[in-house]
């Protein structure tokens, strides 16, 4: 198989098969917290994409050129958190300047990207799966796009729910959690999709 096809397949598998929310159950907090409106969900997705891609890039260098050289691989988690926290700070300052309305809409969930386990999950998985630099960044970027897909889909469904007739006990979060579960089951259909070719 040519390397380009391999990379394309890898990208698809990041978005669909190994979706961080529906298959690995990472990053569920912002998935439920910011999926009220499609616009904010999209903004959140963009912010997470930015942080995840850059985090994958930087943590690759931090791990292989600093930690491995010094024999400090066991510090990877805390070092990665440092990288992610700094990146989130950068994103926050940038958004405050560039788009105050999105900054206001994301609210507390923006600094909470720091503790979004999907971001830390990507960077740590890059190491355990021994991806090279290209694959690490692709994993970050397309994993985040998968996150964005999930959160935007969820926001779409929840916007429709606003006008739907829901029995009182299911209103609000209960129905959201049920939907999240159903979507997760739907995404199970993608599992092993590329197993034969990869």
């Amino acid at each position: 198989m040519s390397p380009i096809v391999k990379i394309l397949l890898f990208m698809f598998s990041c978005v669909l098969t190994n979706n961080y929310i529906f298959s690995r159950f990472l990053g569920v907090c912002p998935f439920l917290g910011v999926s009220g409106k499609v616009e904010t969900a999209f903004g959140m997705g963009l912010a997470v994409t930015f942080v995840m891609s850059l985090a994958s890039l930087f943590t690759y260098f931090v791990y292989y050129y600093v930690l491995v050289q010094l024999g400090l691989e066991y510090l990877s988690t805390i070092a990665f958190i440092l990288v992610i926290a700094s990146l989130v700070q950068v994103v926050e300052m940038f958004l405050k300047k560039a788009s105050p309305s999105l900054y206001g809409a994301l609210g507390i969930y923006l600094p909470l990207i720091t503790t979004n386990c999907a971001v830390l999950g990507v960077t740590l998985l890059n190491i355990t799966e021994t991806y090279n630099l290209l694959y690490s960044v692709l994993n970050g970027a397309f994993g985040a796009l998968g996150f964005m897909l999930a959160i935007v889909l969820m926001a779409g469904v929840r916007e429709r729910l606003e006008s739907a007739k829901i029995p009182a006990p299911f209103k609000g979060f209960p129905i959201s959690l049920i939907i999240a579960g159903l979507m997760s089951i739907a995404f199970m259909g993608f599992s092993n999709m590329f197993a034969g070719v990869m």
Binding site: V62, L70, V83, Q89, K97
Partner: protein, 277 residues
Amino acid sequence: MATFLKILYAVAALGGLGILFGIVLGFVGKKFAVKVDERVQAVRAAVAGANCGACGYAGCDAFAEAVVKGEADPAGCTPGGSKSAKEIAAIMGVDAKDTEPMVARVRCQGTCENVSPRYDYSGIQSCRAASSMSGGPSACEFGCVGLGDCVARCPFGAISIVDGVATIDEDKCTGCGVCVETCPRGIINLLPRDQTVVVMCRNKAIGRIARLQCKTACVGCKRCEKQCPSDSIHVIDGVAIIDETTCTRCGACIQVCPMHCIINFYERGDMVNEAEA
């Protein structure tokens, strides 16, 4: 020695990374610095800064922005009082109106001694929940429930429950009015700080029933109304109420009230003793 080196490496590596990221963040922070109107910061410094929300905006920052935009009244910060109103007016270049300092007062003397309970309440410890249970656990369905919804909401820690009735520390109270909204019974009112003569009851029941409910209930006898030299106290809806714009604080009503439910706030020592005196 080897262990020591390992520790040193770990500290140096993380410390170095931290410093590196810090420097980068510093640069980015400078580059993306958002220019804030100086007046917003000046106004923000002039308000009381308790984030109490009494102005109707989401915190002091939002209020400061609204003032600079011209949406909010410069005197809108009640806790800051006339001091901050003047400062803000000076920043914004408008004339300051003198605002009367307000204070929240609990119009109830329904202490454990004065009001007996009707039933034992063991539900959610909240006045709002308790008062929805067939008129509340105490005999008087107008008075203080004493479960402290206002205590929990007060941003200045000025309220405490003393002997079953909310009591406001007037030194701490800034008159923000959060408790006024919170009280399910509506017995906390914002009054001018110098309005020292206060009718301490909101019981609208007819005299005979009010008397049964509480030892110091207003029975609506109208003696105060007849005694008042400035015609500023009236029994409306079965309960006496003072018009603070005309009241001269002479205290004639205090003398004649048979139920001792009108008091002078600054002469009040212990609530219960005053009521029984």
